[in-house]
């Protein structure tokens, strides 16, 4: 016997699945699609049943691939019982989909989840009455605490044994008339849907179903037009609106009958938005939260990274002395290997772990959508949505996790623009260059000037990019979930999955790139590098020796400072570079090609094309900025 779990997003369906699923739970795909589901075997009453966790959908309207696959799966013979999970604190909303499920006429039971949350909100539900009204067994439960799960599955098992179908819901008389009219014309037709459900889908103009049926019965088009026109004129609204309206009013009506409203317990959670989304204090707390997050991640990161890098440095020296008599080529490869490994360690351990745990916390608490709400107006001025602010802020520490965080943006265009802008944000490594070169020799005011110039260029790029890639989405539509206390397990698991992705997919590339550069270094083709970059160094009025540090800077941006000293033969930069050259070099380093790790992450997150596009945009902007900086600096000095 096979059970299908179905419910709306955030109804606790997956919590229920995790409670019953064994470690052997498998992910499957609907054939030919990317829509996936989880499946597991569960022991029940001496029998073994299959439980399938279907993707969460708000409706069964067939407007997206997931919904279409869910309907197809539900009405195939593969599922014996549908377990409809409903969030009891949001009964009317959940019932709207239950009405749609009832139309399909499949054996089902309802798991009324989050009874504790409903209780807190003062929503008391007459479960017996609900069950009678729907003609479906209803089991109250709290999936997160494991309560009600056994009775739910036992009930589902019994329904499966008797194969009992619930009554189909009825709508207003004018809609019923239209349904009857069309349904009569369909008599004898073979379909995976029952005739009534099929008729309703036809009236809703469900594209795949309309085309499927019209091939079999081309003359139906005429009847459909007639019936729909009549309904349309009577109600002054499109028929799919009328039908979804019917379902909703039916759901509202049932919910109204079974709910007894008690007193809502006002808790801290309800008050939280009054502060966190306040027109003034909301922004103070936003800045405070982001500051703490940023500060926490990067001070912790720096604290771990520094001693780690010292150990790696010592290890590298020790290796060099060990192999000093041996083959120099091998030594160089080893050094490249160590630098690649240490580069990964320096990113993963200190920054990625605290960052992902912090992000997971903000996510699970439910704060991320609030950031979008607060920042939407400002970001719109740059042609972006509110959520895009997060990658920017994170970018000041390290671009790698910042690029990863663009995942919270659904829109492809938005992700690309945000990722591009993020790579322009000077990370901690580039900060070292600006400070080591400009602030140290020319004073902090000039360094601050570079930062302001950087912000200006980012805003300018944002405006330009959103001009070339016009906004397609009409605006923000976003559910603001209830604040929840995050569970330790969920946060750590999520962080671990993402770190594992970095280790498996990005790190090996980083090590490889590092070894390749080391080989170049061994072959002693510094001149080759310098000549390669010659057009740039000539254009920016820099000595040609900057080629090597610029190219190695792609590996880790600090190297463009460290190796600059080696290349110019002096760490006392004021003797080998003019102030104008220092400023130009620092500005160019801030903007040019993102570091290798960032490029790899862009490739992983947005694809190789985006990686090359972003890199190209970066080089272009770096050249323009470098030239502007050179001209401005010449005016000052």
């Amino acid at each position: 016997m096979r059970f299908g779990l179905i419910g709306q997003p955030n109804c606790g369906k997956s919590t229920l699945f995790n409670q019953v699923a064994g470690y052997k739970a498998e992910t499957g795909n609907f054939t030919g699609t990317t829509v996936s589901f989880m499946e597991s075997k569960v022991r029940l009453l001496g029998d073994v049943v299959d439980v399938v966790d279907l993707p969460g959908t708000y409706t069964l309207a067939g407007t997206n691939p997931a919904e279409r696959e869910v309907i197809k799966y539900l009405t195939s013979n593969e599922i014996d019982v549908v377990i409809n999970v409903i969030d009891a604190s949001n009964l009317a909303h959940g019932l709207a989909m239950t009405v749609e499920l009832l139309e399909l006429s499949v054996p089902m039971v309802i798991g009324l989840n989050m009874m504790d949350e409903a209780d807190r909100l003062g929503i008391h539900i007459d479960v017996k009455m609900l069950s009678d009204l729907l003609d479906v067994p209803v089991i109250p439960m709290i999936a997160a605490k494991g309560r009600g799960i056994q009775p739910l599955f036992t009930q589902a098992y019994q329904v499966g044994k008797t194969n009992r179908m619930p009554e189909q819901p009825r709508f207003s008389s004018d809609v019923e008339l239209a349904i009857k009219d069309i349904q009569m014309k369909l008599a004898g037709l073979n379909s995976h849907l029952n005739l009534r459900a099929l008729t309703i889908k036809l009236l809703e103009e469900d594209e795949s179903i309309v085309s499927e049926i019209l091939i079999k019965k081309p003359d139906l088009q005429h009847d459909l037009n007639r019936v729909m026109n009549t309904l349309n004129q009577q109600r002054g609204r499109a028929v799919d609106w009328i039908i979804s309206g019917e379902r909703i009013s039916l759901a509202d009506q049932i919910a109204g009958q079974v709910i007894v409203r008690g007193k809502r317990k006002i808790t801290l959670r309800d008050k939280l938005d009054d502060i966190l989304l306040h027109p003034i204090f909301g922004y103070f707390t936003l800045i405070l939260i982001l500051y703490l997050f940023f500060q926490g991640v990067y001070s912790l990161g720096g604290w771990i990274e520094k001693p780690l890098m010292i150990y790696f440095g010592l290890f590298e020296e020790w290796l060099l002395t060990l192999f000093s008599q041996g083959d120099g080529f091998l030594t160089q490869i080893l050094v490249g290997l160590i630098q690649g490994v240490s580069g990964g360690v320096a990113i993963v351990l200190p920054y990625l772990i605290p960052f992902l745990i912090g992000l997971g916390l903000l996510e699970d608490i439910g704060y991320l959508p609030r950031i979008a709400f607060l920042m939407d107006a400002l970001m719109h001025k740059l042609g972006l949505h509110g959520k895009s602010i997060l990658p920017f802020i994170l970018g000041f520490g390290c671009n790698v996790p910042a690029i990863m965080s663009t995942r919270i943006l659904e829109d492809k265009r938005e992700r690309f623009i945000s990722a591009t802008l993020t790579t322009m944000v000077p990370c901690a490594a580039r900060l070292a260059v600006v400070f080591g070169l400009v602030a140290f020799y020319l004073g902090p005011v000039i360094a601050l000037g570079i930062y302001l110039f950087n912000l200006f260029m980012i805003a300018l790029t944002a405006r330009l990019l959103s001009k070339f890639m016009p906004e397609t989405s009409p605006g923000l539509i976003l559910e603001m979930p209830v604040y929840r206390v995050p569970t330790f397990r969920a946060v750590v698991n999520k962080a671990w999955w993402r770190i594992r992705e970095f280790i498996v997919e990005a790190w090996p590339l980083l090590i490889l790139g590092s070894i390749i550069l080391a080989v170049f270094n061994y072959l002693n083709i510094a001149n080759f590098f310098n000549n390669l970059v010659l057009p740039i160094s000539w254009l920016l009025g820099l000595p040609k020796e900057v080629g090597v540090p610029l190219i190695f800077g792609v590996l880790r941006k600090e190297l463009s400072l460290v190796m600059l000293g080696q290349a110019l033969g002096s760490m006392e930069f004021s003797q080998v570079l003019t102030p104008v050259q220092m400023i130009t070099y620092a500005v160019f380093v801030v903007f040019y090609i993102p570091c290798l790790a960032t490029m790899i992450v862009i490739r992983k997150e947005l694809g190789a094309r985006s990686m090359w596009h972003i890199t190209g945009i970066n080089v272009l902007i770096a050249l323009i900025s470098g030239l502007i900086a050179r001209l401005l600096a010449m005016l000052i000095f």
Partner: protein
């Protein structure tokens, strides 16, 4: 009258949506359909989105979209 004109904190009823099908289906998924009672909870400053309550669920809506949701006060 659209959702943008709705008095803050007062329950109003959605009567219509004038706009594209894509946006409408997204609104419908979150329960913002004709006949539903909604309440504007707060506005983000400087022309930012508004937050509305739809049957106990909070949804943020950009002003452009809110302006296409027609409502009536009962």
């Amino acid at each position: 009258m659209t959702l943008l004109d709705a008095p803050l904190g007062k329950t109003v009823i959605i009567i219509d949506y004038r706009g594209g099908k894509g946006v409408y289906s997204k609104l419908r998924q979150l329960g913002l359909t004709p006949g539903r009672k909604v309440k504007v909870l707060r506005y983000a400053p400087l022309g930012g989105p508004l937050m509305v309550d739809v049957g106990g669920r909070s949804v943020a809506l950009g002003r452009g979209i809110a302006d296409r949701v027609h409502i009536e006060v009962r």
